[in-house]
Amino acid sequence: MSANESAPPVVAGSTNEPVVVFEDVSIGFGAEPVLEGISFRVERGETRILLGPAGVGKSVLLKLVNGLLRPDSGRIFVFGKEISAMRESELFELRGSIGTVFQEGALFDSLNVRDNVGYRLMEEHLPEDEVTRRATEALRFVEMEHTLYKFPSELSGGMRRRVAIARAIVSDPKLILYDSPTGGLDPITSTTIIELVMKQRDVQHTSSLVVTHRLQDAFTLATHRFSREKNGMEPLPPHTADANTSFLMLHNRRLVFDGSTAELVHSDDPLIRAYLA
């Protein structure tokens, strides 16, 4: 079964429409350009892994997708709507369909885990019981339901990331943005987080954009799938990669690669070879 066949209901536009489209997008801070002429797409049900060295503008690109930053030039479409031309008040509504996992989790430190995860539901004035039920459900997905009434300060770095993932998925978003979800974590915890990203990709078939500078995480995501039977990830057959997972690479303010796992691995570009080495 392909991912597109079981894709979740559409928020806006037609089902064939890409979830994210960047058209010649540029942004700078002051006199310093950060991203120049960026164009790419994220199709429905697709997972795009954004690679690049630290400080190249990966997080900036992610913030452009949900309108936290606006481009200096170019156009950005999300669910068929041009967000680069939308007002902030209109963006708040659109962001309801986008889940974001921030680099350090960005949990509200004065709220407990239940309130953090159920924040969006509480803003929608859902009944308290419903908030608790859905927050618990999301936390169960990341195997963190035992932390419901703990505060973020009582959790480890890896646990906080898992709670952040639960917060991102609680309202069943159609697009998830992961900003270095494994940054600063130990290898075992990183694998757990990547497994959760994979689970969301293969179980819910949610479109996603995953920012990382850790090649190991990127290739694990591309060469493994989530098995419901094992309740864990398992490798795909040798020399195969997930068809709905592809790569983008940023270097020196520009997008230097946009293609599949095989194309990335067999690329002759010296820059990409050096990065993969």
């Binding site: 801070f29 002051g30 606006r70 902030e88 921030f102 680099q103 350090e104 949990l107 803003e123």
Partner: protein, 317 residues
């Protein structure tokens, strides 16, 4: 760069100023044709003393120019944040729960310091005025001077300064910490406008609570003055309170009650503005906190002068 939302707007434009300040002028300020401005300065300096003088003058002008632009930009950002936050009072959703929580923190939390400072200010006012009035045999007017001073000036200003020290700093540090840990971005990403959720309740709560705190401070101040007048100076309590009451006119009360509205607005908007434009981690949070208290205090005193002059101009007292 255009940035979405008020906090992004502050961040984006602020970064331009920071770039100009943090690096040498030649890195960011380019002359025509892309040549760095400092290259021109170096060439001129080679032609002798006059060249060096010109270069120094140019650099000084550039520094003044940058500082002026930064100041104008800050005023623009502050005004935009304040107007947008206040206009949110009339837009849905209205965060009543957050408003009550802030009212509790700002109002109830400030009660002890406001009562203590108000009482002892009244005490010291009675002591000082009585000793001055004694020279003219007019100690009977102690109550009048204490009540006029407390209600028109000292009550509003000192209470506002106390609340500013406690709450402007609290707001700046709380919002600043949320900025540096990306909690504000997370809030926006979750579809909530931080100006509605965080800034608007703080402004409304501060204005409302400061109004009542000032009334309380005036009351305990006059009581404190009465205590000193009766217990320490041997004056008649009935005379003290009679002169304190009789000398007051509605315009005095109006002046004393208008001021806390402006002061409350200053405390909350300054605290939130510096919190929302925080940069640079924990050090940045500390800097924002200090700036918030300093600017709120200065603006309170300046505004006090402006309102007093305005009221005296209109009502003659």
């Amino acid at each position: 760069m255009q940035v979405g939302g008020y906090s992004g707007g502050i961040s984006g434009q602020g970064s331009e100023v920071r770039d100009q300040r943090s690096g040498p002028a030649c890195r960011t300020r380019r002359g025509k044709g892309g040549a760095p401005a400092c290259a021109t300065l170096k060439l001129r300096s080679g032609s002798g003393g006059y060249g060096i003088q010109s270069a120094v003058s140019l650099m000084a002008l550039e520094t003044i120019d940058t500082a002026a632009k930064r100041g104008v930009l800050a005023v623009q950002e502050y005004t935009a944040l304040s107007v947008r936050a206040v206009s949110n009072i009339f837009r849905q959703p209205f965060y009543a729960g957050d408003l009550f929580q802030q009212a509790d923190i700002i109002g109830v939390g400030s009660l002890p310091i406001v009562i203590l400072t108000g009482f002892f200010l009244g005490c010291v006012l009675a002591l000082q005025t009585a000793s001055s009035l004694e020279q003219f045999g007019a100690t009977a007017f102690t109550g009048q001077l204490v009540s006029m001073s407390m209600i028109k000036e000292i009550g509003p200003v000192v209470t506002a300064l106390m609340v500013s020290g406690r709450n402007a700093s609290g707001m700046a540090s709380e919002l600043g910490s949320m900025i540096v840990t990306e909690q504000i971005d997370a809030m926006r990403a979750l579809g909530t406008d931080p100006l509605k959720k965080l800034v608007m309740p703080r402004i409304v709560a501060t204005v409302l609570m400061l109004f009542f705190l000032v009334i309380l401070s005036d009351t305990v101040g006059i009581l404190g003055g009465g205590f000193v007048a009766v217990a320490m100076l041997g004056q008649s309590g009935s005379q003290y309170f009679h002169t304190a009451y009789q000398s007051l006119e509605y315009m005095d009360l109006l002046q004393g009650l208008i001021k806390p509205v402006f002061f409350g607005l200053i405390i909350a908007t300054i605290g939130c503005y510096f919190g929302m434009k925080t940069k640079g981690g924990t050090q940045g949070v500390g800097r924002s906190t200090t700036q918030a208290v300093v600017w709120a205090s200065v603006l309170i005193i300046v505004t006090d002068f402006v309102i007093s002059r305005f009221m005296i101009g209109i009502f003659g007292r």
